[in-house]
Symmetry: C2
Subunit: 742 residues, 2 copies
């Protein structure tokens, strides 16, 4: 296919693209990294850009907080990139105002590509000093069994991980705090719904039809490849070859930048154009196929009831809406929450915990009346300073803003108090569990990223060695899901709001002569009465017409048809005073990807001791550290044993988790081992203990130690673990102790 032909094809791109799918664009977007596009009606003028502008090589280092970047030299380099984004952003706005939908969409593709260039350059320039060594961190996490591949002795399964003792304890602490922070503190209704979900539920939510990725198969072996990954890998390889013509390299770079926006047919064309075959066998490939990402199974023995493993926990909450509203005594707003596993049959899982087939989510569905989105506790959090990257700033090539959430809501940057309240709470939560505040931002979806029904969506993104990773989505999902389930089941999922003043309305109803119905239709009388009682106004008016013209109407109920004349049925109208009106609640959904957040926390807290490059450790906050305190007898002489038992019992009584390490290694070596598994506090029992009943207490990050009476360790470590006491206070209260570590 010629380049011109390809461009023509591209002009049709958006016309063929299916309507954006809800879960891919709101909470699904948590699981998909976006890469931008370069194809455009307005290609970027490269001559205006600085050297190396196109380098997207990731440098996993960060010199200064990204939002605080104000270095003149850096801004000099970024300036043209910022201007290029703004230029395109303005074009998008103009086209949108002019109502030119097709051209707008194309301009957005180019806008995203320019944004990506800016962001990559920004990361490259601001990531010079800090070292992060992913393989070493992964080695630690694997060696100390935080997590590792599932079923490894059977060869393993990609995209599935088992959490070992340390990972599991960290995760359990994380989830307990989540429950404390959100469910208990906000009085949310936590539920625990089924994972196995019958097909009709996910048909209604849209997942059966649209939750799919494109793949191709090896025609002979049947091996499958995710289409975008395959094209990317092939073209990158061709692009790097010396023999490849400059023109082809240019074409490849254009395709790569635009890959996410291509249709099935366009990708198919690229396969042909570059003669792409199976990377493992060289065999020809099939046409691209849509592969639904849900795991299917059959419920019950008949083989007739199809079900899926839920791809998200949210639907369990929506289908329980009526019960939950009732539990809230009919009052809005209320929030339901759920922690649980979800499953996605990724074609080719990768990036460790970031894209997996089985994962834990923690989701909140806040049901509210969209006519009043104020929040009673907004005043409590209004001064929380947030790093917000609005859609508007993204289009203008600007940096994110550091701004109190109160100001952001007041200025309209964040749409309303309820959304603002959740954003601030999410940030506070993430800070407390150990996300580095300098590597966290809230990025608003641009109009084109959102599903058609969404009012607004902000993602909490963490900066990791894989780039910015969406960890929490916070979407205003409007009334979409409740409407869909109502349509599918006929069960009204609605709430009532009080009218400002009572209102008179006209009510249309069917008046049946019940005596005659009973006489004429006998055993069918009840079905007939029920049928007419359930009809809506529109149907009734239709029947009224029919009665007027024909003097009778025929209705089919079940297998039988009944004829009713005006002697037995009339349609009446009456006036009624109502004090409330029904409405379908609006939903605001904060959705947490637990594995992604944990991974980010591991990266943000992976450290190397300044004085010893061999000693790596995890500086997890005590709140989520898997074990709070180690107990290390200096030797395994029996006279120390009683003290070990005494300290352990005291700690456990205070609900402090403990690990005793009475192995024969030096204290220094044993501390290094406990540092690796993030134990924040350590108690050493030595021969002084026998003499005067004191022990040393050491803090992991500072490695400083104090000496304190043995009967004070329980409460002291408990308060340190919960945050009721700081290490500085401990240093002030007890004499410093010079380390036995040396």
């Amino acid at each position: 296919m010629s380049l011109t032909g390809h461009v023509v094809l591209l002009r049709l791109l958006f016309a063929y693209k299916p309507t954006s799918f809800l879960r891919q664009l709101s909470s699904t977007s948590i699981w998909r990294s976006q890469s931008p596009k370069l194809y455009s009606n307005q290609p970027l003028n490269k001559s205006k850009l600085p050297l190396n502008w196109g380098s997207t090589k990731y440098k996993p280092k960060l010199r200064v907080p990204f939002y605080a970047m104000a270095d003149d030299k850096i801004e000099e380099i970024l300036g043209p990139l910022r201007a290029a984004v703004k230029e395109q952003g303005d074009l998008v706005r103009k086209l949108k105002d002019a109502g030119d939908e097709l051209e707008t969409k194309k301009a957005v593709v180019e806008l995203k590509a320019r944004k990506k260039l800016l962001e990559d350059k920004e990361l490259e320039l601001t990531s010079k000093d800090e070292d992060f060594d992913r393989p070493r961190m992964e080695d630690l996490l694997k060696r100390r069994f935080f997590y590792d591949q599932s079923f490894a002795i059977y060869g393993g399964v990609t995209g599935q991980y088992d959490f070992g003792p340390m990972g599991c304890a960290t995760k359990a602490n994380f989830l307990n705090f989540w429950r404390q922070f959100f469910v208990l503190e906000e009085g949310m209704l936590e539920v625990d719904c089924s994972i196995l979900t019958p097909e009709p539920v996910l048909k209604a939510s849209g997942h059966v039809d649209r939750f799919a990725d494109l793949m191709v198969k090896d025609e002979k072996t049947g091996e499958c490849f995710r289409l975008d990954h395959l094209i990317k890998a092939n073209l990158e390889k061709i692009g790097k070859e010396k023999t490849t013509a400059a023109e082809t390299k240019d074409r490849i770079s254009t395709i790569l930048s635009q890959l996410d926006g291509l249709t099935k047919d366009e990708m198919s064309g690229i396969l042909v154009e570059f003669k792409i075959t199976s990377p493992t066998t060289g065999n020809p490939l099939t046409e691209p196929l849509e592969f639904n990402l849900m795991f299917s199974t059959l419920i019950g023995p008949t083989g007739l009831v199809k079900g899926f493993l839920r791809p998200e926990t949210a639907q369990g909450i929506f289908v329980n809406f009526k019960r939950l509203l009732e539990f809230s005594q009919g009052k809005l707003p209320f929030a339901a929450a759920q922690i649980g596993n979800a499953f996605r049959n990724e074609i080719s899982p990768r990036s460790g915990l970031l894209r997996v087939r089985e994962f834990t989510m923690a989701e909140i569905e806040h049901f509210c009346d969209s006519s009043n989105l104020s929040h009673p506790k907004f005043a409590d959090i209004k001064d929380t300073v947030m790093i917000l990257y609005s859609a508007c700033d993204q289009m203008d090539g600007k940096r994110p803003s550091k701004i109190p959430i109160g100001d952001a809501v007041a200025s309209g940057l964040v749409a309303n108090e309820t959304l603002g309240y959740f954003l601030a709470r999410i940030q506070t939560f993430l800070h407390k569990v150990g996300v580095n505040p300098d590597k966290l931002r809230f990025r608003q979806h641009m109009g084109n990223e959102m599903a058609h029904y969404a009012r607004d969506c902000w993602d909490a993104e963490c900066l990791t060695s894989y780039g910015w990773v969406e960890c929490v989505g916070c979407a205003d999902r409007s009334a979409y899901d409740l409407n869909q389930h109502t349509k599918a089941t006929g069960v009204k999922l609605i709430a009532e709001r009080k009218l400002p003043a009572p209102k008179k309305i006209e009510v249309v109803q069917a008046n049946l002569n019940k005596a005659l119905v009973g006489k004429n239709f006998k055993k069918d009388a009840k079905a007939i009465n029920d049928y007419f009682a359930a009809l809506n106004e529109e149907d009734l008016l239709e029947i009224e017409k029919k009665l007027a013209s024909d003097g009778a109407v025929e209705v089919t109920i079940g297998q039988a048809t009944f004829k009713l004349g005006t002697d037995i049925l009339t349609i009446g109208k009456s006036e009624k005073t109502v004090h409330v009106e029904e409405f379908v609640p609006n939903v605001i959904e904060p959705s947490f990807g637990v594995g992604r957040i944990l991974y980010s926390i591991f990266e943000h807290n992976f450290k190397i001791r300044g004085d010893d490059a061999q000693r790596t450790y995890l500086a997890l906050p005590p709140l989520i550290a898997p074990v709070k305190c180690s107990v290390l007898p200096l030797s395994n002489k029996s006279e120390l044993n009683a003290f070990v038992t005494q300290v352990v019992q005291q700690l456990r009584k205070n609900e402090v988790s403990v690990k005793v390490d009475d192995s024969s290694g030096s204290i220094g070596r044993r501390y290094a081992r406990t540092d690796e598994i993030a134990i924040p506090f350590g108690i050493t029992i030595d021969f002084e203990t026998v003499k005067n009943e004191t022990v040393t207490l050491r803090e992991r990050d500072t490695t400083l130690q104090v000496r304190l009476p043995i009967d004070k360790v329980g409460l002291t470590v408990r308060d340190l673990s919960t945050g009721a006491l700081t290490w500085t206070e401990v240093l002030n209260n007890f004499p410093k102790f010079e380390s036995q570590e040396a």
Copy 2:
């Protein structure tokens, strides 16, 4: 088929029965209620029995604790039943000693039937006074959304339940306490493994081949019926009909009592004999089919990797054994634990939460050296008085024993300290979470109930309106699972124990001339070296023979075959001093069915107020109550609001969960509502509060109230909730307050 023919067929019964399957006989038995059999070579002499001996109608009432039963009249009735059990028990022992396997098995069937008669009669006679109204309890649980059927607005799916806010909070509290009580207090290694499990893992564990139930299908509609349920329902119906001949009734009662022991062919014969057809259509039925109870799916897009939803959590621990042993620095014993969901595709789920398709388990695998099963903390629990129903006592028709666990281990009733320790800890746990001690017993599996590799197995059984329900299994599973996974993968799942004295052993090894290997085989050299390094002694001796006779040996590695002569390969023997020996650890497995325990707790704590039959409530212990404290302003006058906020904040600061009910109902009505959802403490804010800053505090079970200063509520309710303070102490510390409830 004639009765004689049937009996002949029965004599072959056990010969055709597949080897008992592990999970059906140990942890699986948690999910299966057993019903006993009457078919026998030694039928019970009914004339010796009291009237009504055969009535198995369940009376869900309990007059006196079952183990304390000593009423003369009752024992007079039970005496002959006890004697009948003992008679058969002695016969079983005799046949077993004589080594007559077939006759033993048949005698056991009869023994079980007699035991069942005794137990049913026991329950009937001792359950007269206490009222338990299951429909009313179920109404409360549904109405206040503790749990309810999943996807109800879509018609629901049988065997799947959603936990609503109150059920979910109860379950979360239950699991947190489980983690505190077992994982933290015992220093267990908690893991969180994948649910989706590839086929080879479950092939090795035996689930793929043997985890099945029998069913039949409607030949025309394909509707499925669980075979034993279908036969039972049909025969019970026929048995009740007046026109049925006495002889047939007798025959039916015999079949019903023996149903669980019948083979596929025998059940097929019964279908023909009684002309059983589809209960819904009357159509003919297929031959019985084996239906595997695991949900299957395909992992990845190729359609080639088959997987299952795990039917238990245990296998995830076994396949991680090596990592866990390493985490324990190679030391035994250690225990791993896991809380998670498991799935079983029941043919026809029923009995509410007791038999479901998706459920939460909490399992412990304690890995130990079977040559030393003492327990370091046994002394701490040795005085725990347990209700133990040993296999021996069951065979003798005796009552369970109430006995300290120390004595039970000393006498050999319980095999060893480790098992005894777990049994005592399980009991203490169950008591603390609200299981009625009078409705809990530990029943030992009889020899024939256990899988062939099991050393011992005790079930914690709770008495409910469905009869005795197995809630926790505690099995000594020997080394079965680790051996199976080693066989399937070649990965040695072993530990080392120190030898009492160093030992000299002969080691056989392959001596390769590495230079020649490199020269002759080049790129294959490494594969060849690895191949010979991995061979076991047996293989090496085989090769030695071959080399001696042929002067060379051919080996196939991958696709290629290599010939090695004696110039390049010799088999050598050397002596080595070893200090340790390898062994496959033994596993003791306490396995908790969370839904079953929760259900039993709901039953045991469902109460009706003595003075008001309309008022039902749940007397859950504060430890697991979904919400600890309610706050009720006496009126919604604004002057009370500030106090409500103050009390709520104080409680939350003390981590006490709170529910505010500021609706307009009377205080009494609101207390009734909070009692229904098991809230143990309630604070009322009234107009006195405004005057003197005091509030009332009410306890749910006694309905007594005290008046206390508002600034004391936080700590007081916290300590009441954790058990640090008793209600009696509160009554002594603060003035009593006469109720506003009236």
